[in-house]
Symmetry: C2
Subunit: 419 residues, 2 copies
């Protein structure tokens, strides 16, 4: 079973919108064990849409059309699919009624244009809409004597993902007869470069290439402020069997990578640190200058942060460090300043733990310190510790890497000082 994505919309070709839908679909096809060899973008032009669909149907078993199901005259995906199927469009009154009811439930009147969204190619099945006004379509057809299928979903990501997860991916799996279960698990790391992580893991990659090894692959992905990801993908006959392979590979990788691994799957560094703080009953305050509020805004994004987060002082001007945080007057890009900031913010904001950052994001050096120098401090009841980091990149990347480095430093401190 091979599926191909045809993303529709002139705004995609013009670069006004980046096509993230195809990426999402590609990832979810892979997770579902469905091959996908091509993805195509085409504008709102029926002749070219029909051509793209025909090429796709020649080389794939299924095509997902994304976009062009809206109410306006340039939304012609329904027409293009009907032309490829060689059938007419028929307006379904029950769909018109449902769209009208959706508008009325929001206190609005349906524009007559929206009735176009109830047009369905003869022979197609409708996928009920839950999140928007456009229904999805399942359009079976025969190409050179082979049964194939075109699916149509709206281009709004929030609507698209619903149709894909609820109906289309299960339908593709059913058609493919794929019995194997394919699952991924991502270990998130921080502290070493991607190439170093890859070198460390190379022996395990070699072992997986040998005959009789578990059906698993390992891939690496540098993800900026999200860390370096190491993704295990495994295939097995059952859910239990695939989980056993993933568990085994996770143990192998953790034995190699140790405390470089900070989280799994969706666990960000902030989520992990939040859980450590909450588990110890500790509260946190942050003092930051070089990162300007980025550390704090990441921490606040963690669900339940109000349990353990007090707040922050962004001491961008040196005088704020002296006046509000009690840093002694003098140089501010030093370990001593970081220590005083961490202790000062914990005291001022009434937190158990203070985390601080001071550094140089550039473009110019500051106090003789080169661009990329960052001092991080952690202060708690046992005292204050400081570390110096050299982070690469331009201003924005320095801030991102400084943020994850600082929160990772706090993580290691909390782990090392656990009761």
């Amino acid at each position: 079973m091979r599926v191909e994505v045809v993303a529709i919309g002139t705004e995609l070709l013009l670069g006004q919108i980046t096509d993230t839908n195809s990426s999402w679909m590609g990832e979810h096809f892979a997770m579902a064990g469905i091959d996908s060899h091509f993805q195509v973008k085409v504008g709102d032009n029926q002749e070219r849409m029909v051509s793209a669909l025909r090429i796709a149907l020649n080389r794939s078993d299924a095509v997902v059309c994304c976009g062009g199901l809206g109410p306006t005259q340039d939304d012609i995906t329904r027409e293009a699919i009907a032309e490829v199927m060689g059938v007419e469009l028929v307006r379904r009154p029950e769909i018109v009624d449902r769209i009208r009811a959706m508008f009325e439930s929001r206190g609005r009147v349906m524009a007559e244009n929206n009735a176009r969204q109830a047009d369905v190619p003869v022979g197609a099945t409708v996928i009920d809409q839950v999140r928007g006004t456009a229904p999805g379509l399942i359009c079976p057809l025969t190409v050179d004597g082979v049964e194939k299928v075109i699916y149509a979903v709206p281009g709004v990501p929030y609507e698209m993902t619903d149709f894909m997860e609820r109906v289309i991916i299960p339908d593709l799996q059913r058609r493919s007869g794929e019995q194997a279960v394919i699952r991924s698990r991502t270990l998130r790391t921080w502290g070493k470069a991607e190439s170093t992580i890859a070198e460390m893991v190379a022996p395990r990659l070699d072992a997986l290439d040998r005959p009789g090894a578990p059906a698993a692959t390992i891939a690496f992905l540098a993800s900026g402020i999200e860390g370096i990801k190491v993704r295990i993908t495994a295939k097995a006959a059952t859910d239990d069997a695939v989980r056993a392979v993933l568990d085994h590979e996770e143990r192998e990788l953790r034995a190699i990578l140790g405390d470089l691994v900070f989280g799994v799957d969706d666990e960000t560094m902030e989520v992990v640190v939040g859980a450590l703080l909450a588990g110890r009953g500790l509260t946190l305050a942050v003092a930051e200058s070089v990162t300007g509020g980025l550390v704090s805004s990441r921490l606040v994004a963690v669900p339940g942060a109000s349990q353990w987060y007090r707040g922050a002082v962004v001491s961008y001007a040196s005088q704020v460090k002296f006046d509000v945080l009690g840093v002694p007057e003098g140089p501010v890009v030093t370990g001593d300043a970081a220590a005083a900031m961490a202790a000062g913010v914990a005291e001022r904001l009434g937190a158990d733990v203070g985390l601080s950052l001071t550094g140089v994001a550039g473009p110019d050096t500051q106090e003789g310190q080169p661009v990329g120098t960052v001092f991080v401090g952690v202060s708690d009841a046992r005292g204050t510790v400081v570390a110096e980091f050299k982070v690469p990149g331009d201003r924005e990347r320095i801030r991102q890497f400084a943020t994850i480095s600082a929160v990772d430093f706090l993580r290691r401190h909390l782990l090392a000082t656990s009761a």
Copy 2:
């Protein structure tokens, strides 16, 4: 002249990387007046790459291949292009020498694999590399008696953009014989929904459709924390003529949109407010809770922010509002609390102007206020003003919209109180 993008890489199909290169190219083709009707993604598989290239060459005059020029065995774009051209690859010693010299200049030894990057199809022209090790390629070929061309560039965006801007787009323009100059200008707005902006501008769109109107188009793009963008694209014979059209359309749109327009092109809301503060010799401090540091981190990203920015207090816990900012104990999601926060942070951090935000990002209501309620305060020598906003979306979108709404409120306040 029609050009097509073929983006190469299995990681694109698997959704491990979102293909932003194609979007960038699409936008720049449009700006250069070059048509582009299709974009294709294909994995690192020579047979499928060759098939995608042949289909592209049948319907377009030029193809830009992006990716697959790296040093490893799965980088086979050179091989695929040579197969389509029906020629051999020849290793060019002078390119090997240049790659070796690039490694040596960074204190590293060239891996032998990198010599593959010096392989060039017979008949192709090399585009010298400036930013990476892989050179670009210009590969002329004849399809059904028509002269066409394949360009190859690396998938690293920083390298790709250099090849495109320096050589490939000018080469495409030369081949197309396009003499006209096409330029865009973007007006950034905040304060009304995209549909409202579109309604307001509709008469001008109609005027541009009439015979004899300037050769200009107007498009709308909702860009979250960056505001709603209104893009004018104009075409004329010379640089001066196209600038005159853009100036005229900008005047027309500003007459319609008034102070909804906060900036042009790359001017973010923070840049505009920073310039207003610097021009008035004022300093700013921020007190934020619901946005958790996001407002502050945006302000710090403005070049030269240290001239006018003092810092922030993120008063996530109510007690921090009371203790550090001097907010009277009581409800904290109120206009009075916002006013006290703004005055308190200006006083504590020694700033001329205080900006504050307090609100409810959800998922739960707080103090009986619904999710999406945000109070913004501005305090300066003349007193304190407060506004209430209702912003839509989930937690993350509420924080983004609250941030731009608050900084826009400060912008309008500064404009209204100008001497």
